[in-house]
C-alpha cells in the first residue's frame, strides 16, 4: 500500500489535532486561523502534485486517488480556506472555543475529501458520518436558542437520514453481495433482467440511496431542514454548508451512480428520470418559496435548493446518456465550481455587512452602495451570477448544464429550468434594488477586516474568471469526469 497517496488527508488530520493542542497552550488565538489555513494550503499543495498521475486505489480499493477525487479535494480545501478567512472576525467573538471551531472545520473537510475519494459503500458511510457530526457541532456553535434549534434539527434529521441511507446500502449489498462499487456494477450488469421492476429490492435500495444523498444536497422533498439550519447557524458555517456539504453530496452521487448503477439501461434510464423529476420540483419550489423571504440567509437557503435543482438536470443527463460521453458529469463539476465561488462570495459580503449592522434582514441592506460600495458591488456581482447572467460564472455554468440537458433530449426539463431562472431574477434583483436605490438607514460607513476583503476579492475574481475564461476550468472538469469510467 502506498501511504504517499494519502498525504493530503493525513496532513489535515494532523493539523486538526495540532490546532486543538495549540488552542490549549497559546494565549493569542489569532494564530489558530493562520495554522488552519497553513494546513489547508499544504494539503492542497500535496493534492496538486498528484494531479495528472495514473489513477490508483489505496486501502484495499476503499479509496480512489484519481482526477475526480483530486478535483473535489482542491475544491473542498479552497472552500475551507475562504470559510476560515471569513470566520476570523466571527470567531474572535467566541472567546474560549476558537480552537474547536477551526479544528471542526478541518475535520469536516477531511470527511468531505474522503467522501469524494471513497469507492466502497462502508467507507462512504464512515466519511459521511465524520462530515455530518462535525457540521452538526459547527451549526450549534453560537449556543443561542436559534443556533441550538438549528443544530438539534440538523442532528436529528441527519441521524435519521443516515439510517435510511444505511438501509439502502444494506439492500444494495443484499442484492449484489458486494460493497465495492465496481463489483456491484459487474454483478448488476450480469443480471438477466430487462425491466427494473423484476428486482424490487434493488429498486428500493437505489431509491433509499437517493433519499439519503438528496438530504445532503438539499433536494426537494428532503429540504425541510435547509431554511431553519441556514438561518440559525453562524453565517460562515451557513456558507460552508451551502457549498461544501452540497458539493460533497454531488461527488458521492456522481461516483455511486456513474460507476455502480451507470450501465444497464433498464436501471440508469429510470434513476435518470427520477433525478429529472426531483430537479423540476426542487427548482420550482426553491424559487417560488424564496420570493416572499425577508431574511437574506433564508432567501439564500431556498435559492440553494433551487440551485440543487439546476445541478440535478446534470444528474438526469448522466442517467439518460450513460455511455455517450461525460457531458453531464463535466457540466455538474463546472456548475459546482462556479456555484462555490458565487455563493461563498455572496455569503462573505453578507457576513461583512451584517457584522456591523447585526441584522440579516433584506431591508437593512438599504442604500448599502453608499455605505459600503465595495461590498455592495461584490454582492451584486454574486447575485447576478446566481441568476445566471453574463459575464458572471453562473451564466457559463447554466449554459453548460442546460446544453447537456438538451443534448440528452430533456427539453421539457430545460424549459422548466429556464422559466425558473426568470422567476429567480425577481428575488435576487430585489436585494440589488434595495442596495442601490434604497435610502440608507444611517450615514455610517461599513468597514470590514482585511481577511474578509481579501476573501471577497478572491471570490469576485473567481466569479469573473469562470464567466469570461471558462475554458481552463472546463478542461479540468472534463479530465476529472473521464476518471469516473475508471473502475478499480
Amino acid at each position: 500500500m502506498n501511504l504517499q497517496l494519502f498525504i493530503p488527508e493525513l496532513t489535515l488530520a494532523i493539523f486538526a489535532i495540532a490546532v486543538i493542542l495549540l488552542d490549549l497552550f497559546v494565549q493569542r488565538k489569532g494564530v489558530l486561523a493562520g495554522v488552519s489555513v497553513a494546513g489547508l494550503v499544504i494539503s492542497a499543495g500535496f493534492t496538486l502534485t498528484m494531479w495528472g498521475s495514473e489513477p490508483q486505489t489505496i486501502f484495499n480499493n476503499m479509496l480512489a486517488v484519481d482526477s475526480f477525487a483530486l478535483f473535489f479535494k482542491l475544491l473542498f480545501t479552497g472552500i475551507a480556506i475562504l470559510v476560515i478567512l471569513a470566520s476570523v472576525d466571527y470567531a474572535s467573538k467566541l472567546t474560549n472555543l476558537q480552537g474547536e471551531y477551526y479544528a471542526l472545520v478541518l475535520l469536516s473537510v477531511l470527511g468531505m475529501m474522503l467522501m469524494a475519494a471513497a469507492t466502497e459503500l462502508i467507507s462512504i458511510y464512515v466519511a459521511l458520518g465524520l462530515t455530518s457530526l462535525s457540521l452538526c457541532a459547527l451549526v450549534g456553535f453560537l449556543k443561542d436558542s436559534k443556533s441550538s434549534e438549528a443544530a438539534l434539527k440538523y442532528f436529528l434529521l441527519s441521524a435519521m437520514v443516515s439510517a435510511v441511507l444505511l438501509f439502502g446500502m444494506a439492500l444494495v449489498f443484499g442484492v449484489t453481495g458486494e460493497t465495492q462499487l465496481s463489483k456491484i456494477a459487474q454483478v448488476i450488469q450480469a443480471m438477466p433482467l430487462t425491466n427494473i421492476t423484476d428486482n424490487p429490492a434493488l429498486v428500493l435500495g437505489v431509491v433509499l440511496l437517493i433519499v439519503g444523498f438528496g438530504f445532503k444536497i438539499a433536494a426537494v422533498p428532503f429540504h425541510m431542514w435547509v431554511p431553519d439550519v441556514y438561518e440559525g447557524a453562524p453565517t460562515p458555517i451557513t456558507a460552508y454548508l451551502s457549498v461544501g456539504s452540497k458539493a460533497a453530496g454531488f461527488a458521492v452521487i456522481l461516483r455511486i451512480f456513474s460507476s455502480a448503477f451507470g450501465l444497464p439501461e433498464w436501471l440508469s434510464l429510470n434513476w435518470g428520470m427520477l433525478f429529472a423529476v426531483l430537479a423540476a420540483i426542487s427548482m420550482t419550489l426553491g424559487n417560488v418559496v424564496a420570493l416572499p423571504q425577508t431574511n437574506i440567509k433564508r432567501m439564500l437557503g431556498y435559492s440553494s435548493i433551487a440551485q440543487a435543482g439546476y445541478l440535478m438536470v446534470g444528474l438526469a443527463t448522466v442517467g439518460i446518456l450513460p455511455t455517450a460521453d461525460v457531458l453531464g458529469q463535466s457540466a455538474i463539476l463546472f456548475f459546482l465550481a462556479s456555484y462555490t465561488v458565487t455563493n461563498l462570495g455572496a455569503f462573505i459580503a453578507i457576513i461583512a455587512i451584517s457584522n456591523k449592522t447585526n441584522s440579516d434582514l433584506i431591508q437593512d441592506f438599504s442604500g448599502m452602495i453608499r455605505r459600503a460600495p465595495g461590498l455592495a458591488l461584490a454582492l451584486t456581482l454574486c447575485l447576478v451570477s446566481l441568476i445566471g447572467m453574463p459575464p458572471a460564472a453562473g451564466f457559463m455554468a447554466k449554459f453548460y448544464i442546460f446544453s447537456a440537458g438538451v443534448h440528452s433530449g430533456l427539453l421539457w426539463l430545460v424549459i422548466i429550468a429556464v422559466l425558473n431562472s426568470v422567476i429567480s431574477a425577481y428575488y435576487y434583483l430585489r436585494v440589488v434594488k434595495v442596495m442601490w436605490f434604497g435610502e440608507p438607514t444611517s450615514t455610517e460607513k461599513v468597514f470590514s477586516s482585511g481577511a474578509l476583503r481579501f476573501s471577497l476579492f478572491i471570490t469576485s475574481i473567481g466569479v469573473l474568471l469562470l464567466g469570461i475564461l471558462p475554458g481552463l476550468v472546463m478542461k479540468l472538469t472534463e479530465a476529472a469526469s473521464k476518471m469516473l469510467a475508471f473502475l478499480p
Partner: protein, 123 residues
C-alpha cells in the same frame, strides 16, 4: 418472484395477530368475571425486589457525572481496542505497534483537552 413476498405478508399477519390476541386475553377474562377486581394500596404500590421504595423515581444527578462518564467511555473503548491488539501482537508486529501508538496519541490529545478544559475538576 412476487410469491416470495407472501411469506413477509404472512409474518406480518402473524405478528399483528399475536399482539392483538395477547392484549385481548386479560380484557376477555375480566369481561367473563374470571379475574377479580379488588385493588388495595398494597397491591398498587411499586414492587421492586420486595423492598419498600424510598423517595421518588425522578432523582436528579449532578451534571459532572456526565463529563466523567464521557471521558470514561473513551478510555473504555480504547481498552476494548487494546485487548485484541495485545493478543495478536506477535502477528501484527511493528506496523500494529505504530498503528496502536497513533490511536493512543489521538486519545491522549483528547485526554489532555478534557484535563485542560477542567472536565476533571469537581466544582
Amino acid at each position: 418472484m412476487a410469491t416470495d413476498y407472501i411469506y413477509i405478508a404472512l409474518f406480518l399477519l402473524a405478528a399483528i395477530l399475536f399482539v392483538v390476541t395477547t392484549l385481548l386475553i386479560p380484557v376477555t377474562l375480566r369481561f367473563l368475571k374470571i379475574i377479580p377486581h379488588n385493588p388495595t394500596p398494597v397491591k398498587g404500590s411499586p414492587f421492586e425486589c420486595g423492598v419498600e421504595t424510598i423517595g421518588k423515581t425522578w432523582v436528579q444527578f449532578n451534571l459532572r457525572y456526565y463529563l466523567y462518564a464521557l471521558v470514561f467511555l473513551i478510555i473504555d473503548v480504547l481498552v476494548v481496542f487494546l485487548y485484541p491488539w495485545a493478543v495478536n501482537i506477535r502477528h501484527l508486529g511493528l506496523t500494529g505497534l505504530i498503528e496502536m501508538l497513533i490511536l493512543l496519541t489521538i486519545v491522549t490529545v483528547g485526554y489532555i483537552y478534557a484535563w485542560k478544559k477542567g472536565a476533571l475538576e469537581w466544582k
